[in-house]
């Protein structure tokens, strides 16, 4: 696959703005007590910011499928590590041996 298109500077500035807004939002929402939603919202915003950086700053939106697959594989494997480890810790005591 030859070079993909690259984002225009306008796109870069828009993404930057979105990232800044996301950061401010995270900061502000953290001060409001939403119980269990707090970490979920914080992580959701973080994931959105990360996605924007990956797609636009790192040009993945304009890259080959292989690149996208590589990124996806990374997060998927991380999920394997986290989920399966947690499956031990969260179920201790659930079934007695």
């Amino acid at each position: 696959m030859t070079e993909g298109a690259h984002p225009t500077h306008k796109v870069y500035y828009l993404v930057f703005l979105a990232l800044v807004i996301g950061t401010v939002l995270t900061f502000v929402v953290a001060k409001i007590d939403l119980g269990f939603l707090n970490p979920i919202i914080a992580l959701a915003i973080a994931c959105t910011k990360a996605t924007l950086v990956i797609l636009f700053f790192m040009h993945v939106r304009y890259s080959s499928k292989l690149t996208m697959l590589t990124v996806a594989a990374g997060f998927f494997w991380l999920m394997i590590l986290i989920t399966l480890s947690l499956s031990d810790y969260l179920t201790r005591g659930v079934i007695k041996p």
């Binding site: 870069y12 930057f16 992580l43 990956i54 991380l78």
Partner: protein, 243 residues
């Protein structure tokens, strides 16, 4: 050396194992992505361990998180995001072969990166002053202020407060391990930028060959993404206590 007359098969930067510059760029870019994959897993291991302990010692993690300065963390996040912007613009300038712009944006990126490290140094010093460095190697770990806050502001009993305060040691282990590993990557990023700056100054990059800058950009953005996650995970565990 100008890059307007060279074709993709006789460019001076073409190495012997590749047939042409297109293949070289594709392979190099893919290689950097695979490397970033390994970095995701390395930081990921730390994140997984952090998650497990956060679930196990939630109160201690809240207490530890509340004791680090969220304003510095917020500023640093903005600084890094800004440096990602300047890096993306540097890559764009390299692609267009505009030497001045490349240098300006690379320098800006490095300045912002250095600011980030400076702020981290301030934060680490704060922790040192407050006796929050775990382990006893650098100083004795003495979270008396945390225990005090727990009693005064949260209404915990002194015994419970001192237990939670002791447990914050694990939080601080992760704080230093995660931000420390991240800072190490930042420093390596700055070294990388310096090298790119020198090469950009020689006019090496243009539409036919700007891969090193692109790859440097990928690395830099990755380090930014790690921080994007670190900020809420370390600084914002529970900030609704009015601290």
């Amino acid at each position: 050396m100008s890059n307007s007359q060279t074709t993709t098969t006789d460019h001076p930067a073409l190495v012997h194992q590749f047939d042409d510059m297109v293949q070289q760029k594709e392979a190099s870019t893919f290689g950097m992505w695979v490397f970033l994959l390994t970095e995701i897993m390395m930081f990921g291991g730390l994140f997984a361990a952090y998650l497990i302990y956060r679930l196990k010692y939630y109160d201690a993690f809240v207490a530890g998180s509340s004791s680090i300065d969220v304003t510095w963390g917020f500023i640093n996040t903005l600084v890094l995001i800004g440096s990602s912007l300047t890096m993306a613009l540097a890559v764009s300038a390299a692609q267009r072969g505009v030497r001045r712009q490349q240098q300006v944006f690379l320098v800006l990126t490095m300045v912002l990166g250095t600011v980030f490290l400076g702020v981290k140094a301030i934060e680490y010093k704060q922790k040192y002053d407050e006796h929050h460095i775990p382990g006893g190697f650098f100083q004795t770990f003495a979270p008396t202020d945390i225990a005090h806050d727990l009693v005064e502001k949260e209404g915990k009993t002194p015994e419970a407060a001192s237990q939670i305060a002791e447990r914050t040691q694990i939080f601080f282990c992760f704080y230093f391990a995660m931000t420390g590993l991240h800072a190490l990557h930042m420093i390596m990023g700055l070294v990388l930028m310096t090298w790119l700056l020198v090469r950009a100054g020689h006019g090496e990059f243009g539409p036919q060959y700007y891969t090193p800058v692109e790859l440097g950009g990928l690395y830099w953005h990755f380090v930014d993404i790690v921080w994007i996650y670190l900020f809420p995970l370390l600084y914002l565990i529970n900030r609704t206590h009015g601290k």
